[in-house]
């Protein structure tokens, strides 16, 4: 199969098109502007629509409209823009509308910077907007994985009629790698959405709505949503196990940091350090199973993130005080190199000897 050298943002856009997405709405923000420029070139060629909204608020609501009309639709943005989109995301959850939202995370808070970061983990995995809800959140650690997860993201969104977020970062967006596109879905072959707004011809009218002024009915609606999230939590959880067989020090990293940590682990392994890694791929649902598997052999966990400590909260819940957990973070758009992570591993070994 042909391998193409592509930038992460452009590979993301092409993967969406190959996943059957024909409607892209977005607003420029660094570091993901090539998604929009790529879409603006490609969408007209494949019979789709690229439209630049007047804001992230407008863009996410255009996605909502296109989704309500029955199409696979998406947007892409970066942290400050994603904050603005939370209103629309919450409405789409309430309305049970699928969509894919890609966040190429940059350092915050506020306008922050344009360096790569993982500081939107909590926003992405704990709901993000108002109301009781979750998004399935997928965290790629390479451009190939970003490509593959785009297809999964659209499928999961349609399966649960709920938005899905792909949580990447500026590094994944801006670097280039060789990728393969192992799928090509013609949107005309996708199953008809029996709830979509396409005109009440020969049927009664359809309504897409998140409002219910009867609290008891709204409670039931919420329980129905929760049942979907429970199902998704069981079905959509995914992770990678890396050199865990005899691991005494277990790193927990996602996305770009996991990629860097692999090099550090390989280096430490050459020096006979028993170290491995759990890499959550679905950040929500967070994978519990690999923690249970490694607990007996693990002496300690080491969480490394490009933020001030966010996923570590989920690791604490997963480890449940059974082992010590160390955290090392770099917020604000800075990142690690393999030597820095290897040193963190060595420091833990040294502490053990003292």
């Amino acid at each position: 199969m042909e391998r193409v050298l592509m930038k992460g943002t452009e590979a993301c856009a092409e993967a969406a098109i190959k996943a059957g997405c024909r409607y892209f709405f977005g607003y420029p923000i660094t570091p993901q502007n090539e998604v929009a420029s790529y879409m603006s070139k490609r969408m007209p060629v494949v019979g789709g629509v690229y439209l630049q909204g007047e804001s992230e608020l407008a863009s996410i609501n255009m996605v909502m409209g296109a989704s309500a009309a029955g199409a696979r639709a998406m947007t892409s943005s970066s942290s400050p823009g994603i904050s603005l989109m939370q209103e629309g995301i919450s409405y789409m959850v309430g309305c049970q509308l699928p969509a894919v939202i890609v966040n190429f995370v940059r350092g915050g808070p506020g306008l922050g910077g344009i360096g790569p970061a993982q500081s939107d983990y909590l926003q992405a995995t704990k709901g993000g907007g108002h109301g009781d809800y979750n998004l399935v959140v997928l965290g790629p650690s390479s451009i190939q994985e970003l490509v593959d997860l785009m297809k999964d993201a659209f499928e999961i969104a349609d399966r649960y009629r709920n938005p899905v977020m792909v949580l990447a970062d500026g590094i994944i967006g801006q670097m280039m790698e060789a990728v393969q596109f192992k799928f090509e879905i013609d949107p005309m072959t996708l199953p008809t959405k029996t709830w979509a707004l396409d005109g009440a011809k020969g049927r009664s009218k359809r309504l897409i709505n998140s409002l219910d002024l009867v609290p008891e009915r709204l409670e039931q609606h919420n329980w129905n949503l929760q049942a979907k999230f429970t199902q998704a939590a069981e079905t959509e959880v995914r992770w990678e196990e890396f050199m865990l067989d005899d691991a005494e020090t277990v790193l927990v990293c996602f996305g770009t940091v996991a990629r860097i940590a692999k090099k550090a682990i390989e280096n430490a392994r050459q020096k006979s350090i028993k170290v491995g890694m759990i890499r959550p791929i679905s950040l929500w649902p967070f994978p519990q199973t690999p923690f249970n598997k490694v607990m007996a052999g693990a002496k300690r966990f080491l969480v490394v993130e490009m933020n001030a400590g966010q996923m570590v909260q989920d690791v604490r819940l997963a480890v449940c005080c059974q082992r010590p957990i160390r955290f090392s973070g770099k917020p604000g758009g800075t990142t690690f190199n393999p030597e820095m992570i290897e040193k963190l591993i060595w420091d833990l070994e040294e502490e053990d000897k003292r």
Binding site: Y23, F25, E54, L57, A58, G65, A68, D198, I208, N209
Partner: protein, 252 residues
């Protein structure tokens, strides 16, 4: 014995749902709903229309029309409508919005949908206050008008000036039809009907964006009887908000 056949002269439009609406006595939403439903019937677009309901008094508009419907976040109806229209260009997409929704929180969305010449139709109800939340100041509240949040009357030094939305939309190059109408006398109702029809036809014929602002009473929050409210609208709102076809009329 002779048999007589009767021809109905007046009946509920097919596109108007046979339910009680949620509007206060004397409010003009009901008249505008009926006009819109009559036109959906007349133009034979019931089976390909969708209404985007706002947040505000007409939030439940989706219950009152026998067409597909979606409820949008506050002010975002034109963006949602844009998304639907881009997927289904053959459909007739209508946003129905009040002055809190369209003239305050949703100014960006309406201005840009209009400026794109988006093939949608917007019905804009201007009743000079936020009705649903209990009568607070809206961008359309008149100078000196008392509301829940302007107890001494709207002071332009503190709260700025009433926003003439139709004139603002008409200043853009994008729109195909822009008009301000009222429905407090039968001739005005007929004119309003004609304007809404033109705005729908602009979309149906693929010509562009249609916008109709309807001056409406809010007897409940204005603290007036329906008749007093009509008089207040005529004497206070019409002089500041002139009734006219701004774009796409005989002179447009």
């Amino acid at each position: 014995m002779s048999t007589q056949t009767y021809r109905p002269l007046y009946q509920r439009p097919r596109s108007l749902s046979p339910v009680r609406n949620s509007y206060c006595p004397g409010c003009h939403h009901g008249i505008v709903h009926r006009l819109l439903a009559e036109l959906i019937d007349e133009l034979q677009i019931q089976e390909r229309s969708v209404i985007v309901a706002p947040v505000g008094c007409s939030v439940l508009a989706y219950n009152f029309f026998e067409i597909d419907a979606i409820q949008a976040a506050h002010g975002r109806a034109p963006a949602v409508a844009t998304g639907i229209k881009r997927v289904h260009p053959e459909m007739v997409v209508i946003t129905y919005q009040g002055d809190g929704d369209l003239a305050a929180i949703g100014t960006a969305e309406i201005v840009h949908a209009a400026n794109r010449g988006e093939r949608i139709t917007t019905i804009f109800i201007n009743n000079a206050n936020f009705g649903m939340t209990g009568g607070q100041m809206a961008p359309t509240t008149l100078i000196g008008q008392k509301t829940e949040t302007t107890p001494e009357g709207r002071d332009p030094l503190r709260n700025g000036f009433p926003l003439r939305v139709s004139e603002m939309i008409a200043s853009l190059t994008g729109p195909t039809y822009v008009a301000r109408v009222a429905v407090y006398t039968p001739p005005l109702v007929a004119k309003a009907r004609s304007s809404i029809k033109k705005a729908l036809l602009a979309q149906i014929e693929g010509r562009g964006f249609g916008f109709v602002e309807v001056l409406s009473t809010c007897p409940t929050n204005w603290g007036l009887t329906p008749l007093q409210a009509t008089k207040w609208l005529e004497e206070n709102m019409v002089p500041y908000y002139p009734l006219a076809e701004f774009v796409g009329g005989p002179q447009g």
